[in-house]
């Protein structure tokens, strides 16, 4: 395959390449949008994966795809103390990076390139977040550039920090730099070659088919044969069969702390060959770039899964809060409809209001006489009407308060059963200084107001209903307050779910009220009034609880988890895969894929 026929060839950018660039830029945006704020199990790894994908896109894949002709970047990575810096110096033939006995050594990465390639590296083409310096005293977070003729044109060496020392900064930087490499020159030593940490990196490299060359450094001459054959076998079993393996024996260092030239001739020769053969170079770049893109598309699905999981968790938590408050509203509705609210205090006041309780036990047929009694009572003692409505108010209030507390408690308990929910609760508790698992501070006042407003509205309804009957004697006789109280009692017994003993008490009491109202308004109107009052009550209760529930949903909205993020990531990842296959299968397939994409985007537009 010659560079000109290759799709990442050094010629002008093909349409497929620009399609791919567009898709990858969209992938970067989608990754940025897929925030993972909730603390789900394994989220640390997922966040790191997401950050690594973004880094790799910015540091390597995008710049490499846009400028395919840029020099090959070989990153020298490996364990601390394996001799990376010494190796780089020996390859270059002079001290460009400071080795040392103290671990970890290299604190800022050094990039060695041919002066002719300077333009490629002194700008922010790759590794844009590292500042460029040319001095030797580069601090961390900088990239030290060294131009020397000892490195051939078309190839640059980057001395990366170690992957396994206590300096966490080194480890993250090394990971980032290895992600930006066209070729890994992985340095290990006789003491190190079976370590777990470097092998994790090598496994990752094998998974995304990054081009890797392994250097077995610092090996005692008498152990070279045994160790290198063992290492070769390990490489083979772990999917790195094709990686070249070089050996550098542990020898006393020569002048300036360099390994003798002949010990590294093999590596240097191989690198020079790679630099001079543009086909081989293109092949290395293609292998790594293809692998990186494939890995991006595949890993994007992992991040999409994580984002979907987060969205699902948010939905679950939302549902928990919804369920708790729906249940509370239902309880209140049930309690206010089954007649039990009429027992106890309310019933006593009501019976006091209409006369004596005893009298009304067997009264169905004698409403006329009762009515007269009521009239007398109402006229003579206006106070009891007030007492009934106060009793109703107190009963409803107790119910509302307790249900609000229970709902908050239940919602918080189900949130607390998940680690992510627990974290959110704690954060919300810190922000607001109030436990979400309790009803809000102003709820008592709100509930009071809601109940009073409802009673007020109910009286208003009675008043409106009676507007055309205002002149009638009966309406005047009973008065708005008495009729309102009667309506309240009817509302609480309206669904008539009363059974057994209660029927005699609550039902009987309500019946009196109903007969009274029917006598004034007619039975159709009474039914309508009661239904309207009941609906009004439920609405107000719903509003009260909605405000309580909002405390939970606000916390969820504040996390920034978006439902669509996962789908968008998957779409982009699929699009990248399509483009990859299209490029491999040739133009016909590319057209088909483009057609397919067109349909897909049409569908999307239609949606």
């Amino acid at each position: 395959m010659t560079p000109s026929t290759h799709r990442y060839g050094s010629g002008p950018r093909t349409p497929e390449t620009s399609d791919m660039v567009t898709a990858l830029v969209r992938l970067r945006e989608a990754l940025r949008a897929a925030e993972l704020p909730l603390d789900l199990p394994g989220v640390e790894t997922q966040r790191r994966t997401r950050a690594q994908l973004v880094d790799q896109l910015e540091d390597y894949v995008l710049p490499r795809l846009i400028q395919i002709e840029a020099p090959l970047l070989a990153v020298v990575g490996g364990s601390t103390g394996a001799g990376k810096s010494t190796l780089v110096n020996s390859l270059v033939g002079s001290v460009v990076t400071q080795p040392g006995v103290l671990r970890p050594t290299t604190r800022s990465p050094v990039l060695v390139h041919n002066p002719a390639d300077a333009d490629w590296f002194d700008k922010d083409r790759i590794l844009p977040d590292l500042a460029r310096t040319t001095g030797s005293s580069a601090g961390p977070g900088a990239l030290q550039l060294v131009a020397t003729d000892a490195v051939p044109v078309g190839l640059a060496l980057l001395d990366a920090p170690d992957v396994d020392s206590v300096e966490e900064h080194n480890r993250t930087l090394a990971t980032q730099l290895l992600g930006a490499a066209d070729l890994w020159l992985f340095v290990t030593s006789a003491a190190r070659y079976a370590d777990q940490v470097p092998w994790d990196y090598l496994r990752a490299a094998a998974e995304r088919s990054t081009a890797v060359a392994v250097v077995l450094d610092r090996t005692p001459p008498d152990a070279v044969a045994e160790v290198s054959s063992h290492l070769a076998r390990m490489l083979t079993t772990r999917g790195l069969r094709d990686s070249p393996l070089f050996t550098v024996p542990e020898v006393p260092l020569g002048a300036g702390g360099l390994v003798e030239a002949e010990e590294v001739t093999e590596i240097r020769g191989w690198l020079h060959l790679l630099a001079s053969d543009s086909n081989a170079r293109a092949a290395v770049v293609k292998q790594t770039l293809d692998g990186a893109v494939r890995n991006l598309a595949r890993t994007a699905h992992t991040v999409a899964d994580a984002a979907a999981e987060q969205a699902a968790t948010v939905a679950d938590l939302h549902a928990d809060a919804d369920r708790a408050y729906a249940e509370a509203a239902e309880r209140v509705e049930e309690a206010s409809a089954d007649g039990t609210l009429l027992r106890g205090e309310v019933l006593a006041r009501w019976q006091e209001f209409v006369g004596t309780g005893e009298l009304f036990r067997s009264l169905e047929s004698q409403v006329g006489r009762v009515r007269d009694r009521i009239v007398a009572t109402v006229r003579g003692r206006p106070q009891p009407a007030q007492q009934v409505s106060v009793a109703v108010e107190a009963g409803l209030q107790t119910l509302l308060l307790e249900q609000a507390e229970t709902a908050a408690e239940r919602a918080a308990a189900s949130w607390r059963s998940v680690a992510a929910g627990r974290r959110l609760l704690e954060a919300a508790g810190r922000d607001t200084g109030r436990d979400l698992g309790r009803a809000s501070r102003g709820f008592r006042a709100d509930a009071d107001r809601a109940v009073r407003d409802w009673q007020h509205a109910l009286l208003q309804m009675v008043r409106c209903q009676g507007a055309d009957k205002r002149s009638t004697a009966r309406f005047l006789a009973y008065g708005v307050n008495a009729l309102g109280v009667a309506l309240m009692v009817v509302v609480f017994a309206y669904t008539a779910g009363i059974t057994g003993a209660e029927a005699g008490i609550a039902g009987g009491s309500a019946l009196v009220g109903q007969k009274l109202l029917e006598a004034v308004f007619g039975d159709q109107a009474v039914r309508r009034l009661a239904a309207a009052a009941r609906k009004d009550l439920n609405r107000r209760v719903g509003e009260l609880f909605a405000a309580e529930r909002a405390r939970f949903t606000q916390v969820l909205d504040g996390t920034g988890v978006r439902d669509a993020a996962a789908d968008r990531l998957r779409d982009v990842a699929r699009r990248i895969d399509d483009l990859r296959f299209a490029a491999e299968l040739g133009p016909t397939a590319a057209e088909q894929s483009a057609l397919h994409d067109l349909e897909a985007s049409d569908e999307e537009a239609a949606r």
Partner: protein, 551 residues
Amino acid sequence: MTSVVDQARRLLGRGTPDLPARVDGLRRAVEACRGRVDEEPVQQAADVVERVGTRLQLSGDQTVVALAGATGSGKSSTFNALTGLDLAATGVRRPTTSWTMSCTWGEDGSEDLLEWLEVPRRHRVSRSSMLDTSTAEERDLAGLVLLDLPDHDSTEVAHHLEVDRLVAMADLLVWVLDPQKYADAAVHERYLRPLAGHQEILLVVLNHIDEVPEERRPEMLADLRRLLEADGLGEVPVLATSARHGEGVAELKAHVAARVRDKKAVTARSLADLARAARRLQEASGAGAPSDLPGRTGPDRIAEMVEAFAEAAGVPTVVHAVERSSRRRAIHATGWPVTSWLGRLKPDPLRRLHLDVGAEGRRLVARPRTSMPELTHVQRARVDAAVRAVADQEAEGLPRPWADAVRTASVSRLPDLTDALDRAVSEVELGVKTPWWCRLVQGFQWVLLLAALSGLVWLISLGAGGTLVAPVWYGWSVPALLVAIGVGGGLLLSLVCQGLVRISARLRARAARRRLRAAVTEVTQRLVVAPVREELDAYEAAQAGLADALR
């Protein structure tokens, strides 16, 4: 568990008199925290109690010293250098050692210890069984059980697990590092940093020192000390050795021998483990101990709760029924016999509630049930709110897990509420019976009625016979007088008694209310206060236990 304490007590002579108290303290704290505090730290503390207990039960004269480190750092070479024998396999192929190997100096009691450490029998060597003359140096090491561990950083994960297991059990840990690997994250982050509280039982060896040029060695050792300091291990001795060439081995041997001789490693390890576990448990359980726990709830909250319970139990209904029932009975007794039986036609309000069985009846019925109506939503809400208020007040100032535990405990027995209240009410002696003076009045009423009747019979027989003349007393006909006094007196008496009856019924109702409230108070004690108190006791026990463990 007590045997652990006994065993620990046996170590009293070893200079740390409070070790048994600490083990016991942590054990109590674990028991109190279980199910209330985060499971993980509780389990860890329980494991520590178990492990320390077992270790103390085993030979206290022996010190288990483990050589741990990365692959290629020279653990096996060091092992060989210390034993003076070529026992452990060394080599260039990594990882070399796959099995833990042990070497014992002196014999007694080491078998159980090695069994506990799960060192395979074929990997055990006893130094004294070797046919060499025991030198003074060897005698110094008597009581040493030296372990050569596998590596902790190679690709062989099974090795890591073995290391993790034995690092938690050994009495003294010698970390063997080397110039290439001394700054590895694997050793510092996974092992050394978590051992920050265990400085006394750590020893760090920088092996392969021969590979470093002489003039760079102090610098490297200083760098290693810096890293250790960052791990919180600034006081751990650092030795430079070259096991291969014998440099520094004598010094290492002397160090180990000194530790084995003073036999403090077992205690030190136990104390460090206990302290770490206790601190973690304390963190999870939450500090900040309000000491004035008992009876923190104000009397008003308790009264409010009893009130809510009483209402839920229907106490007002029952009291009302008691008043009416006793009035009915008394009126029946004191009323004019001719009309008072009519009152019987009305049902007894107590019977309607199935509360009229009395003391004898209750003895016959195994478990009396009342017919009190079900709890209404409002009553239930009131009860819940009152209980919540009590729990809140009790839990005030408690750390989170304990406040939650109190809250949970306060409602844990409320499902039994209806049943418990029902039983409490049905078992109260309501004291509804006819008072003695009513019986007296009743007798008098009958006397009066008899007088009236006899007067009537007299009058009738007079009228029928026409012969007898009725005796006259102060100008009144005696039979007519008898009738008049009998009827009038009876009616008057019943009228007069009605007032008394009302007062007596009210008194009886009041007494019944008092007894009912006492029964309900007992229910609140049982269903709410006692479970809450249990949690508070557990909290105090945990605090006290942790304080003992951390003393």
